[in-house]
Structure formats: structure tokens, C-alpha cells
């Protein structure tokens, strides 16, 4: 299972699934199933998404669950 932050990043940008899908050259359902964790993106799509959001691939995809916002804030406070 590969976890991802695609939904978070998409919503942050105010995009619909279709908008994001068009931007990276896939169909809407790929983004939908990817966000839900029912589908693992190809390496090509992972790089396209990273390029689109201006992030590294490992910042969007991870084999371990991402920390929630509250966990991240707690970590920052502890540092």
C-alpha cells in the first residue's frame, strides 16, 4: 500500500478531480481512485504530479501513512 497526499494538495489548490486529471494527462477516475488509495500511480504519473505541485515525489507518496496536521504541529512544537 502506498499512501499519498494528492487529495490534500488538490483541495488546497481549489481544483476538481477533472482539473487535476487534465493537468497531468489522465482521466478523472485515476485521480479519484488514487486519492482513495484504491489505485497505485505509475512512476510516470507520480513524477507528473510531483512536477505539477512543485514537490518531491516522496513528499506526495510514501509507503508509510503521512502524519496528520495536528501531529506535525505537535512535532514542531516539541523541536
Amino acid at each position: 500500500m502506498i499512501y499519498n497526499r494528492v487529495k490534500l494538495l488538490r483541495v488546497e489548490k481549489g481544483l476538481s478531480r477533472k482539473d487535476l486529471a487534465d493537468a497531468v494527462g489522465v482521466n478523472f477516475q485515476t485521480i479519484g481512485y488514487l486519492e482513495r488509495g484504491d489505485y497505485n500511480a505509475s512512476l510516470e504519473l507520480a513524477f507528473k504530479l510531483a512536477d505539477y505541485f512543485g514537490l518531491r515525489v516522496d513528499q506526495i507518496f510514501s509507503p508509510r501513512p503521512f502524519k496528520t496536521l495536528s501531529e506535525q504541529l505537535a512535532d514542531q512544537a516539541a523541536e
Binding site: V26, N27, Q29
Partner: protein
Amino acid sequence: MRVVSLDSLEKAFAPKLQAVDLSPRSIKRLKIASAVYIAAAPIMASCLPLVDWMFGLEDGANNPPAFMFLLLALALTVTFILFITSLFYLTSHRIWGRMEVGAKDMDEWEVSAKDKAYSFSYKVVQSTLIPILGLAFFARFIDVMGFHSLDNWASFFGPNFFISLTFACVLISFYLPVTYFAWTTKPLDVD
């Protein structure tokens, strides 16, 4: 003169999936159609020899009453309508259209879904239909060789064989992949 291109045909018959094609309602309809098809097929297959037998009866006191004929005809008609309707729905659904166009212009999730569906179909064939066909072939071979004259070789590949083969082809080529898709794909809500 305008020439019809392959691309325009593809757009007309296998357009891209829309949000509505993967909606809970659409997936539910696909599931119902696949269930109706697989239930109606054996019912029809069982009714046909019964009709054949009834029409073959000679006039006599022991014949079943006329309303039985009517009831059977009605049951067969209803089953046939359900069978054809479900078949039409399954083959006209955009999911099937997309699966049929091959990997060209298909999205990576579509290619993956298609591959899984056809792989499932092949596994079913491998584990069930091939042994059944083999057994039927062997039984027919024994029957032809052991109990009848060699003249019966002509009926070795008789109408029943081809009817069964056609049914198997329909089952493998479209029913199993679409059914697999319908029962394994989680509906996608429109955002």
C-alpha cells in the same frame, strides 16, 4: 467527401468514461444486469427441452393441461426478455466499450482495470470451462466409439456443440470481464 476515421468511430462508440459511468447507481445497474444474465441463461436452457417435449406430445388423455403450456410460454418469454435486456445493457455500457478499444488512448487506471478483468476471465476459463469441455469431449468420444456406429462421427461436432461454444465465447469475451468490473469496482462520487 468526408471519410470516417477510426478516431471518430472510437469517440462515438467508446468515449471516455464520465463521472456518471462510475456512479453508485451505474455500478449497481451493471451488477443487477450481470446477475440477471447469469440467472436467466440456465433457466432458458432448462425450459427449451421442456417446450420441445411438450410440442412433441401426441393427443392423449395423459397430456398436461393447456394452461401448463401457456404458463411455460409465459415464463420463457419473460426469461428471454430479461436475458436480452441484460445482455444489451452489459454490452452497450460505456465500460464495455472502453474495454473493447484496447490500450490505445486508455488511461493507466483503465488499462489496469481492463487487464485485471481479462485476467480474471482467463482464470475462470482455465479452472472451469477447459476441464468441463475436456470432460464433455471425452464423454462424447466414449459415447461415439463405444455405443454407436462410426456414422455418429458426423454428429460429433453437432449443433449442441456449437451452441455451447457460442455461449462460452460470449461468456468469456464480454460477460466475465464486465461482471468482474461491476463487482470489484467501488463507485466513484462526483466531486
